[in-house]
Symmetry: C2
Subunit: 516 residues, 2 copies
């Protein structure tokens, strides 16, 4: 057996049995090895941005990493934007990036580049196998780092390390260190703050926004009058019967307004909020001056355990029955007439099936979703986390592979969707149960708003030609069919509802172009 | 005026009047500034891989750089694969990459990343404006570096440097240093070698493969019995009436065979050939052992001047009338029956109009093009230079903008085409005169060959699902129409010829899906 076989075996031994891939010549021995391991499910993406976002969506749902297979520096580069999102989501991923044989690098062959320099900004661990013998150690290191940080590990696999022979060896699962303990003094500080009656915001993230942990957070909030916030967490379990958290608004003025009264901020998996961008004469740090910040726990901690410990220290006097979402969305009147983001959000809220997974890259078209979320059937919500557009369609690919049997609904802005539309093909190839809703507003609407923010209200030729995508209009139905995904177009709320009902009642991929 | 205005003015003052762009929020002030400069032509790409390849194609044809506008680290990352190709083509490009305001970086806002680390592998110059006052100096430095290296300059533009005020100032064109002189001893060595009767290969690249320089190289080759080679030069002028050069084969065995007899190699803009990849027990350096290598001139030199100097030193006894391509392709019988890469190459060779520009990402489907090229109407040939797939469609966008009035024919492999198919939309938006031929073989054929090279002849489930893209089949006509480009499908040579005639006789974009 060779180094590539060893790498596959180490991945499988540690439970990594899905590989999202777009291979090239330098990875042929690894492809041949994968071909000898039918236990590994290989999912092809026709572009690496699909591959990496799929690995992100998979791990968010499966709660374990997938591997990716990427071809040299350019293949990695194509996947970096969605690795950036995964980095912000703190998603564990093990990237395998092929490279030239070690002795070939000196020739600076056409595809040679500095892979480490490309990998580092988006990876918390970067390593390189020097030969077939150290592949096991490097692969285990990559895996352990991905889990314990958690985050992205990038393992560079030179072709000669892949094709070099290795001696048979018995593998065992790698040892992942226990999650770190929290500092008891910081816990005490949080308890004191929550008991003090001072206006307190709790910033949740990571596993703290799963239903069971939220239940504990909700009891704390109800018993102490604290407010629960979260900001683009990788995966929230939300909807009816669950404790709702408030999002921090994207708009800087609204965010400052929402946070202005808080005297204490406690971070439990969430970060203290900062401006998505800087604006002249507006703050970057969004909490009011003088607000005390208590960094209790990060995503590397056992956040459910941290919340339990906090509740236990607070004691029954400071706990109360939490407020849970009520399943009232189905009672909303069906939207009629003009198709708008609000109408779409109401239509989806009414009909979303229990256990659905929303992959959310709706950007400016989220309509009433933030407000309606707690009233919808219980579901998972997977948003864009790092602001690198082009995540929605391929994130749904990974979510579907990671959570078979559940309906995926992708809320997809059109400008962003064009970045990685190739993911529709993988939806068709794998017959994934994904309903994609494209918000076809035919422009980079968010940028038009930002232009107004910088004082430009009348757009000239150059601005219009950089912010409008209406000439020609994109025909999303045609694009979807070109990749084997059935599609329909809706221009009224009634037509949208009909297509939505049709899309939800069938299995397999379907796309609705919602002209808004 | 602000820093963004200053940057636009510096670009315009130095003749950069085309900006391929996909902006984001952090670049809004730059967009507003561009909007105040109607002299600057802004061309939107719906994905940054389109933007960077378009800038490459533009500069290859216009012989001057374009600017790109990219959004932060992820926007740059999306453009890196085609910047890799541009780097290998030694194309001058000035990238403008927006970043957060300098004082906002410390908050590690969601879109923050290490832009320098991402930029360096593909750029020969990376710089960052520290405030609005140093934008002029940095922009001029970027421009001069792009021209004199030549290659890619990446200028990072923090939002506060863009929006900060600057005092009015009179601009003048930046001073670009003269091209370096060649070493007279090396020239003498080349003269001695060419006169010696030893078997000599001349590796041409850069401007040495333009018609006028080739004419000189051809006289030298005819007078000394040297052989002219070139390897993926950025832009060759070739076809009838021009001196032909031999390509170095991609296949390692064929390359070694083609080069085995040479005793001397002289590099004039070209590099000594190395294996595209390493293979077990095959050489990386392709010239035979003991072959003398004379590095006479690189792309930074005045290559036409170098060839003139070489010819002058050689003297009339070692110069002769060159062999030029004869315009015989139209006499070939029209292909009939099965549609194959050979049939397509014959059909195109017969009908290609004079002055056409071929953007070539045909990969395994090049058919008889290498052999027929000298017999076709005089044309320019722009190949994929760095092996990072996904260049063809957007390269044609830039070539069309850089050479208005000329017909572009894009030879596009299907797997590679899917990487940056968004470029078709820009073809439609700008009404570019591009005929795209998609070789629809529904697989990564090059990888199937490479799998056989590593000894795998029977593919299992995992290999098939990573190398075939036939389930579902891609409908390229539907994809093209989805982006506003008319298209037709051909399944026979006769049908292909009819569509080719139709596509060549109209203005504006058209796509032929050639099912092979």
């Amino acid at each position: 057996m060779n180094g590539a076989d060893r790498l596959c075996d180490v991945l499988l031994e540690n439970g990594i049995d899905v590989c999202f891939a777009n291979p090239g010549t330098s990875e042929m021995h690894f492809v041949a090895a994968l071909d000898r391991k039918p236990r590994m499910r290989c999912v092809l993406g026709l572009f690496e941005g699909v591959v990496t976002a799929a690995a992100d969506g998979y791990a968010r749902m499966a709660d374990k990493p997938a591997a990716t297979l990427l071809h040299l520096g350019p293949g990695l580069a194509n996947g970096l934007a969605n690795l950036h999102n995964a980095r912000r989501a703190r998603t564990p991923i093990v990237n395998v990036v092929g490279d030239h044989a070690t002795y070939h690098l000196k020739y600076d062959a056409p595809l040679t580049s500095d892979i480490e320099s490309l990998a580092r900004p988006m990876s918390q661990w970067v390593g390189r196998a020097s030969n077939s013998s150290d592949i096991r150690a490097k692969a285990e290191e990559a895996y352990v780092a991905a889990l314990s940080h958690p985050g992205i590990s990038t393992l560079i696999l030179p072709a000669d390390a892949a094709w070099g022979e290795v001696a048979p060896e018995k593998l065992t699962p790698a040892e992942v260190p226990d999650r770190p303990a929290i500092d008891p003094d910081t816990l005490e500080k949080a308890v004191v703050a929550l008991r003090s009656g001072r206006k307190t915001a709790v910033f949740l993230g990571g596993r703290a926004v799963r239903a069971d942990a939220l239940e504990v957070a909700g009891r704390i909030a109800a018993g102490t009058d604290a407010t629960l916030f979260s900001e683009r967490p990788a995966r929230s379990e939300r909807g009816a019967g669950r404790v709702a958290v408030r999002p921090v608004p994207y708009n800087i003025d609204l965010a400052v307004e929402a946070l202005k009264e808080f005297e204490v901020a406690i971070c439990i998996g969430g970060r203290t909020p900062v401006g998505f961008f800087a604006y002249p004469d507006k703050p970057g740090f969004l909490l009011p001056e003088g607000c005390e910040v208590i960094e209790l726990a990060g995503v590397e901690h056992d956040l459910h355990g941290v919340l339990d410990a906090l509740a236990s220290e607070l004691g029954p006097d400071h706990l109360a029955a939490p407020t849970r979402g009520q399943y009232t969305a189905p009672e909303l009147p069906a939207p009629t007439g003009e198709l708008t983001p609000d109408a779409i959000s109401v239509a989806v809220a009414r009909l979303l099936p229990e256990g659905a997974i929303i992959c959310d890259e709706s950007i400016t078209s989220s309509g009433r979703f933030p407000e309606l979320a707690p009233t919808m059937a219980p579901h998972d919500h997977l948003p864009i986390t790092g602001g690198a557009i082009g995540i929605g369609i391929p994130l749904s690919v990974g979510a579907a592979v990671g959570a078979p049997g559940r309906k995926i609904v992708t809320l997809q802005a059109d400008g962003s969707g064009m970045y990685t539309l190739q993911g529709l093909w993988t939806q068709a190839r794998e017959n994934l149960d994904v309903l994609t809703i494209v918000f076809s507003n035919r422009g980079y609407s968010i940028l038009k708003g930002e232009m107004r923010n910088v004082g430009v209200n009348t757009f000239g030729q150059n601005a219009r030609r950089m912010l409008d995508i209406d000439d020609p209009t994109l025909d999303w139905c045609s694009l979807a069919r070109g990749m084997g995904v059935e599609a329909g177009r809706a221009e009224t709320a009634e037509a949208f509802t009909r297509l939505l009902e049709a899309g939800l009642s069938r299995q397999g991929p379907f796309l609705i172009e919602a002209v808004i």
